[in-house]
């Protein structure tokens, strides 16, 4: 028998071969949640980077498929949300802070799509879930380490704006310091911007000049001043130690993975997602953690901190939430 291929067979065969990957993807897609992230800031900005990374990891593990837009202006934001909802995303992730009303309107128009939004308000309906940023427990533990490390007993902090998520973080750090150091006094500066590292650095310099020798850096730029002046700093959300070795001895890390797993589970189980997912940022879920450089920390500071950490993880003790603006 002679094996020949005529033109029609060739075309059909080629088309089938080309379509194969798409077919396989479709066949697999049944249990993979399609997620679209709408980031208002560039994804390398600290807060967004934690979320972006967690989504990428979830995608790599096969839990979700992830696509995203970044630098989406508030005026353009509802459109981007709609586009992803129309495009078949099962979960639209976003940040509603600047577009609370519009984001809720869009969610109302797409009842079959799940929405998970960083928000200052509560959840709405069956499909508009919200989350808050919580790495305050790790900040508290970092404070317990810092409290034993200061010579001046003056502790500084530099924040962007005094919104609840920033306030409760700085307050938690202070409570942690005070637990181990009753003589501690505190300084704080807000720079009125999320991304002005030169100004954050100047604010930190001002606090060092006023005697602070440990700084809690809610904003990038804080540790630069600490490094230049030879004092210590603590990072927030992400791990700053590789960038400032010897200066940043502890970081209050925020992990978004548990939140993603929780909402994907709800979606797959057919549960309503119109609820508050903030709890998945808590330490008991692995939503935040302290990482620190043991060599840079006095040995006697570690056991009490670890005892506290165990109590938090076991749910025996909660770090108080204090939204008041730190003075």
């Amino acid at each position: 028998m002679k094996l020949t291929t005529n033109r029609r067979q060739l075309i059909v065969g080629a088309a089938a071969t080309l379509a194969l990957p798409a077919y396989i993807r479709r066949a697999n897609a049944a249990d993979v949640t399609r997620v679209a992230g709408v980031h208002m800031s560039p994804v390398e900005n600290a807060w967004n980077s934690r979320i972006h990374l967690a989504f990428q990891e979830a995608a790599a593990s096969g839990l979700i498929e992830y696509e995203f837009s970044e630098g989406v202006a508030p005026t353009d934001y509802p459109r981007a949300m709609r586009e992803y909802a129309e495009g078949g995303a099962q979960l639209v992730w976003g940040e509603a802070y600047a577009v609370e009303r519009e984001a809720r309107e869009v969610a109302g128009d797409y009842p079959d799509t799940a929405f998970l939004m960083g928000s200052s308000g509560g959840p709405e309906g069956d499909n508009f879930g919200v989350f808050g940023t919580r790495n305050h427990e790790a900040a508290y533990l970092a404070g317990m380490l810092a409290g034993k490390m200061s010579d001046s007993n003056v502790f500084g902090s530099v924040g962007g704006y005094p919104i609840p998520e920033v306030n409760l973080l700085i307050n938690a750090f202070r409570m942690g310091v005070s637990e181990v150091n009753p003589d501690a006094t505190f300084l704080n500066g807000f720079i009125g911007a999320w991304f002005d590292p030169a100004r954050a650095k100047e604010a930190a310099m001002a606090q060092i000049d006023a005697g602070a020798d440990i700084l809690f850096g809610e904003r990038i730029g804080t540790a630069d001043a600490a490094q230049e002046r030879g004092v210590k700093a603590i990072g927030s959300l992400i791990d700053y130690t590789p960038r400032y070795p010897g200066t940043v001895f502890a970081n209050a890390i925020w992990n978004y993975g548990p939140t993603i797993e929780a909402i994907v589970e709800d979606i797959n189980a057919g549960n309503a997602v119109g609820r508050d997912y903030t709890e998945y940022s808590f330490m008991s879920y692995g939503g935040n953690e302290l990482i620190y450089v043991a060599d840079d920390v006095p040995a006697d500071a570690i056991p009490p901190m670890e005892a506290k950490q165990a109590a938090i993880q076991a749910g025996e003790w909660d770090v108080p939430i204090n939204n008041d603006e730190p003075a």
Binding site: G192, A193, P197, E202
Partner: protein
Amino acid sequence: MMEAIDLLLNTSLWAAVLRIATPLIFGVLGALLCERSGVLNLGIEGIMTMGAMVGWLTVYMGGDLWTGLLVAALSGGMMGLLHAMLTVPLGLSQHVSGLGITLFASSLSYYLYRLIVVVGDLPPTIEPFRPLDIPILSDIPGLGPILFSQTVPTYLALLSVVVMAYVLARTPLGLAIRMTGENPHAVEAQGLNPLRIRIGAVVAGSALMAVGGAFLTTAAFNSFFPEMVQGRGWICIALVVFASWRPGKALLGALLFAFFDAYQLRLQTVVEGVPYQLFLMAPYFLSIGALVLVARRAQVPEALMVPYRRGER
């Protein structure tokens, strides 16, 4: 209260004033040069962003810091050339073109940055200009740490003020630039080409603005963020009016603004019970106040924002 006064005697406050003022000095001199020739350049915010990105990127790709500043200046000059082409020979609206340049240059900077640089959760760094401790001079009590422990671009900024003041007031070139801003017809009658002078002034002024932006990424900090200029360009535009279009007063205005900013950052640490927003507002509020007082006597260049068309009366 005593603490607030003590802060004023602290040399570190005054050293911070010079650091904070540096990008403003470059920016305000650049804007002043453009406006002295008759062209308002609202592209400044974008041009500073461009300078911040390009200066940083040059160093990141292996250039030295001076090359970084030079390439930043070139990139600013290019943006200035675009603004000049639109507003001088074509005589288009300087407001619209300037704002367009700001939008374009900011977005282009971020786009190029994203294309070229791989960013994780923290942007990559460069080795920035370090503060110089000039031997002997920096040991002078009081003045030493303020004046002689700055980074090199700060000295460059102060030098630029002197050069700008000299060139504008004492050289034929300066006379030609000033005259173009006052009465371009008279310039033409002298056999000079006012269009060329305006284009040259806008290009050079924009280059200065870009160096101001580059200071943020090569001396004040060591990474680039797309939004990091944070309105410093707009402040420079206001400072030009405050300075009544004079370089010496422009320096004074930049220092005054920087003083309020450095002081409020320190006041936040000693004064309790006052909303921090009041402190943050202070530099802007006081600058507006100063503007109101000073600007009434300001001598606006006659032909500012008036396009020159040859042969038109």
